[in-house]
């Protein structure tokens, strides 16, 4: 059953280019949205009961015949699946209207689905190498998606992204190779078991460094972040949302966390490096975002900053820190997607991404303005929205771990975050309406629907945070909290 998460989008991705010849718009729209909805429902209703007593390994079936594919599902992966499905659903329905002017919808959806298949596979894999392969699947699809508009900007961004990402993959693979050479296996269980019996701290440290660089590049941690401010703004808005909202988390943070916490075990050295990288990312991202004039570029830098928070939280390694990191990861997926979708709506309506040229759009695009305000406040950590709770938990975790300076810096970072989001708000939406945009209309239905959905989720998550924590985050945090133990349980499946 879990295999559906991979095979449905993959098969559909293969079919869509063919179907696209038949129906240019309707069928791709319908099928893609339906598939996403299906995955979302699957994640919420079918997959969740599976992990009632901890993680499981499920064997895939292909038309009744068992396959030698073993999918690992535990709280963490389920949580990621849910996040992916949720954001991709919002993105897909948003694309219905948005991608009209790009054309080649079938192709677009196919790539999107391939990317989702890659991410789902990544999340469900219980093996370092498989993880790498699906990482690449998602990455290849994302290169193409970034370049989808085929303008100069898009191609340039995509090229740099690809070239850096390829290096990152090489780092990861090299590390896997070494690990493979050391332990003789690549599955989580085998690696964890192997490392446990060997006393080779420096080799593991070296591999951790390579992983950190590789996944850090995927996750756009400073100083590996440089591709992101180019790639995310250049992509079509839904893809920006997808990349910033999910992809960097799945291929960067998830993979990193899974390996460091679940396979290698968090060492004090890693804690230090992760938290420092987190803080540096927070500040570099936030300060760089402050001076941006391109709305999407600002959001992209903001992603760097927010990923910093997530990594910082995971880096603490305490149960609360992990929980906080997960929560922030989820929240960031929600509000960053929301903000990118909003930016897309604005760009589509006004034809510009330059904040200077906007102004007073709240008047003509009320829904977009309101949802964007919600997103901005949420990301800055203003209560009662969801971002507040996760940042709160991060700071509590920092203080509990006696990292007072980091806590203060994290707090300061959130002030800067609010600062540039206020700049964004007053440049774009607040203020007097620019004459040029007198005739601008609110975004079309499906685009608005997507943003409203995400904005509502931001609010609801904020208000119902105990529920979210208990039902989605706690199982995931438990998995990570147990550290290497979980991986050892799956040995020899």
């Amino acid at each position: 059953m879990l295999f559906l998460f991979i095979i449905v989008p993959l098969v559909l991705a293969g079919l869509l280019p063919l179907l696209g010849k038949v129906s240019k718009r309707l069928l791709p729209d319908l099928l893609a949205s339906a598939a996403m909805l299906f995955l979302l429902v699957l994640a919420v209703f079918s997959a969740r009961p599976l992990i009632a007593d901890g993680g499981i390994i499920q064997q895939a079936f292909w038309f009744g015949a068992p396959l030698n594919i073993r999918l690992l599902l535990d709280g963490f992966s389920l949580f990621m699946l849910f996040t992916i499905s949720l954001v991709s659903f919002a993105v897909t329905i948003y694309s219905i209207n948005y991608m009209e002017h790009y054309g080649a919808k079938a192709n677009y959806y196919a790539l999107l689905l391939a990317m989702i298949a890659g991410m789902n596979g990544l999340v469900l894999s219980g093996d370092l190498f498989t993880l790498y392969v699906f990482l690449e699947v998602a990455a290849i699809a994302s290169y193409a998606l970034v370049a989808f508009g085929r303008g100069h900007d898009e191609l340039e961004a995509s090229f740099k992204y690809l070239m850096l990402s390829a290096v990152a993959s090489a780092f990861v693979l090299l590390s896997i190779a070494v690990i493979f050479g050391v332990t003789g296996g690549v599955s989580f269980g085998a690696v964890a078991q192997g490392l446990k019996t060997l006393n080779i701290k420096y080799v593991v440290g070296f591999c951790s460094g390579l992983f950190l660089a590789g996944f850090g590049l995927k996750a756009a941690l400073v100083p590996f972040h440089s591709w992101l401010p180019d790639a995310h703004p250049s992509a079509p808005a839904p893809i920006s949302a997808m990349l910033s909202g999910v992809l960097i988390k799945v291929s960067g943070v998830y993979a990193m966390t899974r390996i460091f916490l679940g396979v290698f075990g968090l060492t004090p050295a890693l804690t230090t490096v992760l938290t420092v990288m987190g803080i540096v990312s927070i500040f570099v991202g936030a300060l760089a975002a402050l001076g941006q004039n391109d709305i999407k570029r600002m959001l992209a830098y903001s992603s760097i900053s927010q990923i910093g928070y997530v990594v910082l939280a995971f880096g603490i390694g305490t149960p609360l820190g992990i929980l906080a990191g997960l929560f922030h990861l989820f929240n960031h997926a929600l509000f960053k997607s929301l903000l990118f979708l909003n930016a897309g709506a604005v760009e589509q309506s006004t034809g510009t991404r330059s904040l200077d040229k906007m102004g007073g759009l709240a008047k003509v695009m009320p829904l977009t303005a309101v949802t964007s305000a919600i997103g901005s406040l949420a990301i800055a950590g203003v209560p009662p929205l969801n971002g507040f709770w996760s940042k709160l938990l991060i700071i509590i975790a920092l203080v509990q771990a006696k990292m007072h300076v980091l806590a203060a810096l994290a707090v300061l970072g959130s002030v800067i975050t609010l600062w540039y989001y206020l700049v964004l708000q007053h440049q774009a939406f607040f203020g007097k309406l620019n004459e040029a945009w007198q005739g601008v209309k609110e975004a079309p239905f499906w685009m608005s629907a997507a943003t409203v959905l995400l904005a509502l989720l931001c609010i609801v998550t904020g208000l119902a945070f105990p529920f979210v924590i208990q039902s989605w985050l706690q199982p995931a945090a438990d998995v990570l909290g147990k550290g290497v133990g979980v991986a050892l349980n799956f040995i020899g499946f």
Partner: protein, 171 residues
């Protein structure tokens, strides 16, 4: 013998990088692939060797040459001549570091016995099935990517994202 093959691999890789002609570079790369394949054969990794020969030395070289031909004429970028001096220095430093570190780092790892069982195809099909799904995914993603990038332009209002209109970013 093994060392000789590795040195050959390295030498042609260097040649591929330093060569000022792209075609020569691509061909050097192919030769390097052949050397790598030979290394694989030496290590009894027949399947990997075959794949290396056919796919990398073959397919990828073809891809490269196609791309070079497609872009030739307007794509001759002069690399700096400084590489002749810089590269040896760099290489020397790298080699020294490599010598110093590698032994130290990996030398402490105890040799463990692998748990190899079954033939290659059994391993590939039974243990690494998931990877195959991933391969399918990667290939289809690659195909889709190429399709997307070389699609016929059927967008409406072509100018939307092309050129300078995508945002007034500061130069």
């Amino acid at each position: 013998m093994h060392l000789f093959l590795l040195i050959g691999l390295l030498a042609f890789s260097i040649l591929a990088i330093l060569s000022r002609d792209l075609l020569k570079s691509a061909i050097s790369l192919a030769v390097a692939s052949i050397f790598l394949a030979l290394v694989f054969f030496r290590m009894n990794a027949v399947y990997a060797g075959v794949f290396e020969l056919s796919v990398v030395a073959g397919l990828i070289t073809v891809l490269f040459i196609t791309a070079i031909t497609l872009t030739r004429g307007d794509g001759d970028v002069a690399e700096s001549r400084g590489h002749r001096i810089v590269f040896p220095l760099f290489f020397l430093a790298l080699a020294v570091v490599d010598l110093l570190v590698m032994k130290k780092l990996l030398g402490q790892i105890p040799a463990i016995q692998g748990s190899e069982s079954g033939t290659f195809s059994q391993v590939l099909w039974n243990q690494r099935t998931f990877d195959l799904v991933g391969q399918v995914g990667a290939i289809s993603a690659g195909v889709l990517a190429v399709l997307a990038l070389f699609r016929r332009d059927d967008r409406h209002g072509n100018a939307a994202s092309d050129g300078g209109d995508t945002g007034g970013r500061h130069e």
